[in-house]
Subunit: 462 residues, 2 copies
């Protein structure tokens, strides 16, 4: 092993610190820092990582980055080289099975160590995926295509448009379903914008990721990937959706409609929830059960409307009491074209903002109201505050989720800035982003295991 | 009846429209507008209402304000005068019963019609409350004190400080409990700031309101008021809390700790939810059951630490993908002292914001990270983005809810702007706003009726 390998990926002061302390990658260490002592294995880093942190795989499975300046001492307790090469075998071809394309965007799906630490290259080629999750070959033939590789919090219109166009290509090429591997931070934002950019696809478009990397015993990576792949290959729901871990441990994944889903826990695996509706369906690696009568079925044609219009000058203003007009003032000054307010209650902000909102609207900025309660509708006719905001020209956004309203306004303003046409487009549902009503059971979370789900379907959908 | 009475509260063009159409208050009408036809009873208005809207009580019970300019025609179908005077009787005095003070802030509690339409003066004096909800006299002796009367979305430090000082006076005067009537839009913000301004009260401080006015069959007003009054008078939890309708229709109310509560539905009655924890307790008009072992018990002393420090130059920045630096740039330019970011995932924003965040921190602005998932903790050591933000000086806010972090940062910066002291105060819990862990069942909603609650308490708290 060369010196390079034993400090794999470390540069600058991080590399110097390891050398000074006479430890290396895969050393089992105790690192004493000014903030406490941490035990674990020193992980390799990617070439793209910074040169200021030493990354530790802790006993809990979590990775921890320690800044070199905070490190007082490193004690080597042992050495535990981990195998992080993925056993690779050729993905079997079966002409009888459906064809799925996996588009890569940079999220963790299947890897031996967490992708975002840069410690390993994640499983991505069909051969690697087959090596890591051989059950995939029971479901379909798979091909993979890496679109780009960034953390999902850094995604923007360039990536969203590239993804929509890639989906167009895959549909035209005859794919039976598309799986998109995606980081979880902004998975719901991407699901929303793709719902507008990829309209009425004939096949399932399934966005998937994992909350815990596949080197952790509790990883959701393999199950999520199997459920998403089955949904894309053999499921009968042709919509843009998110397929992530359900609330019942490992019994099933939930399928969330792209316009009604939100990340609701920073670390749990069952973080994605359908808001204000029932989930679109559930998925296991062997079946998909629709939970809504209006789930759109798969079609044999290759028709899809790809529409990648996008206006970047749109902001979400999240209202809080005692908010001052200066924030909206800055948006007006900076030539924003659209503002989505997440208001309190039925859609309210305080009176001191009325003046600047009028100024914004007079200047032609599209201002839409949503509710920060997340569940429920904007209703601005009920109270004086709402009526006054209506009079100013603030448009009630029905039950658009704030993030979905933001994405839709970016998309609509990419087509037109004419206020009445913007309003018509904003309030005409494209992909069920506005619904006629929210079911009472859309507020609570679907509880129970598969038997309860099947009972629900029997009582409600047949 | 004089002309004044038959058009009660209507001025200007609204009054002229009613006269033109030959209808009056309590007329049962069909109003044809450019947006459709609406049926209902014309309600009286308060002197403080605007002169542009006619307010209709629809068959559904909802009030609707129609702008006079949109009205094409009004057809009178009948006349249905409603009794809206509240039967008033003297609130009985019983020296054996505890003493509760009800502080009024402007929210709907008990009234014959919705307070915010201005149609009636809500029940507020002890005699009116006794007339509207006579069961209150079984619970306590009551006195009332109106602090101010504004919609809760317009509340700010002036009102919060006045409320904290009023609580101080009532505690010193010997009250056994304080109930605060409050609009629901920003009830959780007020609960959070009062948790910091009123520390370790010896008696319950119970914030209550209603989602539906007491003239609607499904109103939660009377039950909420009875549960809150019982909690204040006889309950054994001496904390700042929210007492609102529970998720099981009318079986019980939930008591939410002031720092862990959020409005989660724009219109449902069971909108308030404890986030990331079990609710503090449940309340009925006859009993209070604590659901947490750490609920602070009532004390006999009159000690309370009132601390009304407040810095107004604080903002919440709610991150969305493709956010540009200009919004934070404006906060820096406008001399803000504190920024609470609601980031994605474990506490992330995109790379283009790093420069302006560094500029803000270099200028001495306190920047704290929270998670917009609401549930779960900030964990910025896990990924490169988080580590980079830590290096810039962004402070992880543990599991502070974004709104609570905002209120706490306003309060802390009222004491000091010295970064290390701000950080020490921010991260030292005052009223359980930061907890050591979030229970698994703190993500889901406590289901079931009273028997299930009692089963839970038996299994978990004894």
């Amino acid at each position: 092993m060369t010196m390079d390998d034993s400090l794999k990926g470390y540069r600058g002061s991080a590399r110097a610190k390891l050398q000074e302390m006479d430890v290396r990658v895969w050393s089992d260490v105790e690192i004493k820092t000014r903030k406490g002592t941490f035990a674990g294995i020193i992980l390799p880093r990617a070439e793209t990582g910074d040169d200021q942190h030493i990354v530790l795989k802790q006993r809990t499975g979590y990775n921890l980055g320690l800044h070199v300046d905070s490190i007082v001492d490193i004690q080597e307790m042992g050495y535990k080289e981990s195998r992080y090469a993925i056993p690779e075998s050729e993905f079997p071809v079966d002409p009888e099975k459906p064809h799925v394309t996996l588009l890569g965007t940079g999220g963790t799906i299947a890897s031996r160590l967490d992708y975002r630490t840069g410690a390993v290259i994640p499983a991505f080629t069909p051969g690697e995926l087959y090596g890591a999750v051989p059950e995939l070959a029971d479901i379909c033939n798979m091909k993979t295509r890496k679109l780009y590789g960034i953390f999902s919090e850094n995604m923007g219109p360039e990536q969203w448009i590239a993804t929509a166009k890639a989906i167009e290509v895959e549909i035209a090429a005859g794919a039976d379903g598309v799986v998109i591997g995606h980081g979880t931070d902004t998975m719901h934002h991407t699901a929303a914008i793709l719902s507008f950019m990829v309209q009425d696809p004939p096949i399932p478009i399934v966005i998937v990721g994992s909350q815990r990397s596949s080197d952790r015993p509790s990883s959701d990576a393999a199950l999520n990937l199997r459920c998403a792949t089955f949904t894309a290959a053999q499921g009968n729901i042709a919509e843009v959706m998110v397929c992530m871990f359900g609330p019942t441990s490992d019994q099933y994944n939930l399928l969330h409609r792209g316009t009604r889903v939100r990340k609701m826990h920073s670390s749990h695996r069952d973080t994605f929830r359908t808001i204000g509706d029932m989930p679109l369906g559930i998925a296991t690696p062997e079946k998909v059960i629709a939970l809504k009568k209006d789930a759109k079925p798969r079609r044999d044609d290759r028709n899809v409307a790809i529409d990648t219009a996008f206006e970047e000058k749109v902001a979400i203003v999240y209202y809080y009491p005692n908010m001052k007009p200066d924030i909206i003032e800055a948006l007006v000054d900076n030539e924003y074209k659209g503002i989505v307010i997440a208001g309190t209650g039925l859609g309210h902000v305080n009176r001191p903002l009325f003046g600047v909102l009028k100024k914004a609207i007079d200047k032609g900025i599209a201002v839409y109201m949503t509710v920060q309660t997340l569940w429920g509708y904007v209703q601005m006719y009920v109270y004086d505050t709402g009526r006054d905001l209506l009079d100013l020209g603030v448009v009630p956004g029905e039950n658009l989720l704030p993030e979905v309203a933001y994405m839709k306004l970016c998309w609509v303003l990419g087509h037109t800035t004419e206020p009445e046409e913007v309003k018509r487009m904003m309030l005409t549902p494209v992909a069920d982003e506005i619904t006629d009503g929210e079911p009472h059971n859309g507020y609570i979370i679907l509880q129970g295991g598969l038997p309860e789900v099947e009972e629900y379907v029997k009582n409600n959908l047949r």
